[in-house]
């Protein structure tokens, strides 16, 4: 379901943290929410979605949000 308003902001915050912790997104990317449609961030999102076996929408859809909230291992999925 499409996210609205503060719910979207909260979702974007979780997404940014997830990409930073597990997919090597540079930490503290400023105004991540504004940049969510820029190609580097879309690429990152798609990389995550591909790794986790999700549809590669490049967007914060509900399946992606649901999987990001599942318990998991703290080791990154890509990178060192």
């Amino acid at each position: 379901y499409p996210l609205h308003g503060s719910e979207e902001d909260a979702g974007m915050e979780v997404l940014q943290k997830y990409l930073e912790n597990y997919y090597g997104l540079e930490k503290d990317v400023k105004q991540f929410t504004k940049k969510k449609d820029s190609s580097p961030v879309v690429k990152k999102i798609q990389e995550m979605q591909k790794f986790l076996g999700l549809k590669m929408t490049g967007k914060l859809d509900s399946n992606t949000m649901e999987l990001m909230h599942k318990p998991r291992c703290g080791v990154p999925d890509v990178g060192g």
């Binding site: 790794f51 076996g53 318990p71 998991r72 291992c73 703290g74 999925d77």
Partner: protein, 378 residues
């Protein structure tokens, strides 16, 4: 599958581990057993062997912690990150940390320690995360995993064998079946009317039904029994055992196969076993026990062999005189092919093939004839 960048791995096949501290969520021996079983998962498909040390620096240091715990990668409270581990190497490398804000359990009602430990120890051995959703090394925890049928996926086996090769004694690459056929081909499903048992014993208020390499564990609290590999609890116990019985006041279950007897206490395998059954005072002519049961009130243990039985005095630790006696004379209605026997609710339940006879010791007669798997809520 993938390995850590640079494929770090242990340059030796014998690796030490230490359980530095414990979660309060589980009894200590459950934690010990979960870690041991998690290591065994990898041991079975590689040349690696593991030994536990209780002090000093081990290759793999296993600990439970909350939030900031010294490695600048703090845990995050309940949920989300459950644990993390480091690639092989000195110091913190190779170690596995578990978030003690989780509720650790030995079933799937909480976070299953065995499952998470098997995953984290995959990291400790050099595996990185896998994008294969069926793999143990997939990063997201799967609470729906059927523990009774747990096995590594082919992706996990390929991954760990890319680092260490197959087990040394197997002539060719060991492939763990990816279909859930962890049941032996000849082990029938739980509700098959033809199911029979090798041995049945109580254990701390539960009942264990042994069959080939597995056992069903029946607790009065749950309608469905759990199904486990014997070796996942007691690695040195034999499969296809002949008999088993619990001596309650010693908190010990004895397992019999051929002319040998083993002893276990909870998860622990007691030292000094197996021993010969003849140390109990059975004659040399007896080379195999069909079934056995120890009656707490009498402090006597009965060994059934073909059409006869012996009786052992647990207090005196010696066989009673004037035995063997005929089973038919003392247990009318019980035939000569007893597979297993256990006591519940004051009755003795004798198993023979797919049938079970409920025997009332006070009335001295068989009161019911049941299917052997009548305890399984089929």
């Amino acid at each position: 599958f993938s390995t850590f960048p640079g494929s770090p791995k242990w340059r030796k096949n014998h690796i030490s581990y230490r359980i530095v501290n414990y979660t309060l969520d589980l009894p200590r021996e459950s934690v010990d057993s979960a870690i041991e079983r998690a290591l065994k998962v990898w041991e079975e498909v590689t040349p690696l062997t593991f030994s536990r040390i209780s002090e000093g620096e081990a290759d793999i240091m296993i600990s439970f912690a909350v939030e900031e715990h010294g490695d600048f990668i703090p845990f995050d409270g309940p949920g989300m990150v459950l644990a993390h581990a480091y690639a092989p190497g000195p110091g913190t490398n190779g170690d596995a940390h578990f978030d003690d804000d989780e509720r650790w359990t030995d079933d799937v009602t909480g976070t299953n320690l065995f499952l998470v430990a098997a995953h984290e120890l995959g990291h400790s051995l050099g595996l990185f995360h896998s994008a294969n959703a069926e793999a143990l090394m997939y990063p997201v925890y799967k609470s729906s995993t059927d523990l009774a049928r747990f096995h590594l996926s082919q992706d996990d086996v390929d991954g760990i064998q890319s680092l260490y090769g197959p087990p040394t004694e197997s002539p060719d690459v060991l492939v763990v079946p990816t279909k859930s056929n962890s049941l032996d081909p000849e082990t029938l499903p739980m509700c098959s009317s033809a199911l029979s048992f090798d041995a049945v014993s109580t254990l701390r208020g539960e009942v264990l039904f042994f069959k080939d390499r597995h056992f069903w564990r029946k607790s009065l609290r749950t309608p469905e029994p759990g199904f486990y590999l014997i070796s996942s609890f007691w690695p040195s116990l034999p499969s296809n055992m002949d008999a088993a019985y619990e001596v309650t006041n010693r908190d010990t279950v004895f397992i019999l196969k051929g002319n040998q007897i083993w002893a276990i206490r909870g998860h622990e395998e007691l030292a000094g076993y197996p021993k010969s059954i003849h140390t109990l005072g059975l004659p040399e002519t007896v080379q195999k026990i069909d079934a056995a049961i120890s009656l707490k009130d009498q402090k006597k243990t009965y060994f059934f062999v073909e059409d006869k039985f012996w009786r052992f005095d647990e207090k005196k630790q010696s066989m009673d005189p004037e035995f063997p006696r005929k089973i038919a004379e003392n247990f009318p209605g019980i035939g000569t092919k007893v597979d297993a026997v256990f006591e519940a609710f004051g009755f003795l339940y004798f198993f023979s093939g797919s049938s079970q006879l409920e025997f009332d010791p006070n009335a001295g007669k068989v009161t019911h004839i049941l299917k052997s798997n009548s305890w399984f809520n089929c």
